[in-house]
Symmetry: C2
Subunit: 328 residues, 2 copies
Amino acid sequence: KKLLIDEEEYIREIRSGSRLHLAKAITFIESTVSDQQVIGQRLLKQLLPYTGNSIRIGITGVPGAGKSTFIEAFGKMLCDQGYKVAVLAIDPSSSLTGGSILGDKTRMEELAKNPRAFIRPSPSAGTLGGVHKKSRETMLLCEAAGYDVILVETVGVGQSETIVRGMVDFFLLLALTGAGDELQGMKKGIMELADAIVVNKADGANEKLAKKTVAEYKQILHFLAPSTPNWTTPALAVSSLYKKGLDVVWNTILSFQKSMLENSVWENRRKEQTVDWYKTMIIDRLYDDFFSSIEKKQSMKELEQLVRGEQMTVSQAVDELFSSNSKQ
Amino acid sequence: KKLLIDEEEYIREIRSGSRLHLAKAITFIESTVSDQQVIGQRLLKQLLPYTGNSIRIGITGVPGAGKSTFIEAFGKMLCDQGYKVAVLAIDPSSSLTGGSILGDKTRMEELAKNPRAFIRPSPSAGTLGGVHKKSRETMLLCEAAGYDVILVETVGVGQSETIVRGMVDFFLLLALTGAGDELQGMKKGIMELADAIVVNKADGANEKLAKKTVAEYKQILHFLAPSTPNWTTPALAVSSLYKKGLDVVWNTILSFQKSMLENSVWENRRKEQTVDWYKTMIIDRLYDDFFSSIEKKQSMKELEQLVRGEQMTVSQAVDELFSSNSKQ
């Protein structure tokens, strides 16, 4: 091993709150270099006993719903109350655009400067499973570093909400006013993943409309199965701009935590999430290993075309792909 | 090959409507014996050019929604209009109970006797991917045999609705009266898979309530993204008992087909469904191959316990599982 670091020092520094060491450890976890990954995993393993003590909150919403404004205001409020807050992002689109939803740090300037906050942009491109893995492990590192609240932001692209729902305790859907119009464009099933719907921008001339929207969401929620058993998903209005209603959101989350700890849903969900993650990683690994050769990938594409054109049955194409000398 | 059949004869007989030969071909497809599977696949390959000409309709609903009564009445109406109707079932629960939702043929006695109808119970237990594969291939065989309408029934267990949605053109949700109460117990996201919601048992004293329920569903549907682009999912009331409203359901499906053929959604969805199926089968095969040894399965379970108990990180467990001499 060429790369040597003082692991003891890293563990100590991360646990005593060094943001520099935490950031470096995350870089190891996110690295595509094998040596660095090994270090990242070794650090994580030693830190594992110190994880699990935060409240993990997922936040989603359409572009323009004001996610970063909300996170900035909400995060600042929590810091003021003495909490340490980490903000992560899962953004599968960054591989396409080269950008990242948290890449532009100026979007959360104030929070970024707060000594109680830690902001980490979305990991660089990779398979969805890869992003998933890195973000989960980053979350664990943040917990070991003493962050009490982890906010995981995501945009509604691909499977990102399902991934985030699968790694957090509480899932918050940030909405705009005008439920009827917005829901038409909202991703299917997203409302049924939410533990709270928060209508943002309830300020100024918009306030009245926001209240109407909350009423509309309440009406719809009445008909939907709740995201979490024994929990009634509320709809709330906030103004991130004027910092109104943020405390109600936080109290809602605390009351959720209290109930779910009492009926063991909290702990059971976390265990199931970890096991699901394990299973996803197995599938991911099988897939990556099988398609590690360019020829195999090429065969897969060629056979896909034959299947698509109905020149071959699916069973035959799969048999062909798995035959040892598959060339097509 | 010990087993020899006259393939030419099979193809000819199936295409000219022999239910006996169709049933036997399905048995080959469903067989767990390799030789028989090969025959099934060879038959399917030769029949592939004659597939794709039916309307594929998925039907789901909670137990008690009257699925079999509806299918019997609806299927009989179609037969009377000159259509040939095949009824299949996907029932992942049959592996647990040993039963099958269509196993009890008496449930559709009249339809079963109709010379224009063909009823096939759920394939026997297997992995979900296995059931999926068999049911899709059975559907293709029925199409080659000249069935114009394929009805695929499913109960709301596990992933069954998603599987059925992934193999049909039109997905119908059969509902009971009292939307508010029912939706609380309905599976998440199910409404957003539906191309029509049909409130059953709109007869006698129940008729008024059924109409109220239809209005409630319409109100909710207004807020949801449609299952199919450029389609407004309707809510309808029927009485399977008095055969009222069944023609409206059928006309809705025909009008859906007309629009979707015009805008190419029909064809594109079918192509995507086939490609998705191909990809699912690849994952399934990778999984089956990897876990073909009992030792590997055992390792997976043991490592899962360590992950669950937080004694090991997910990454480490996966690495351990994939190391060549994984024993734990």
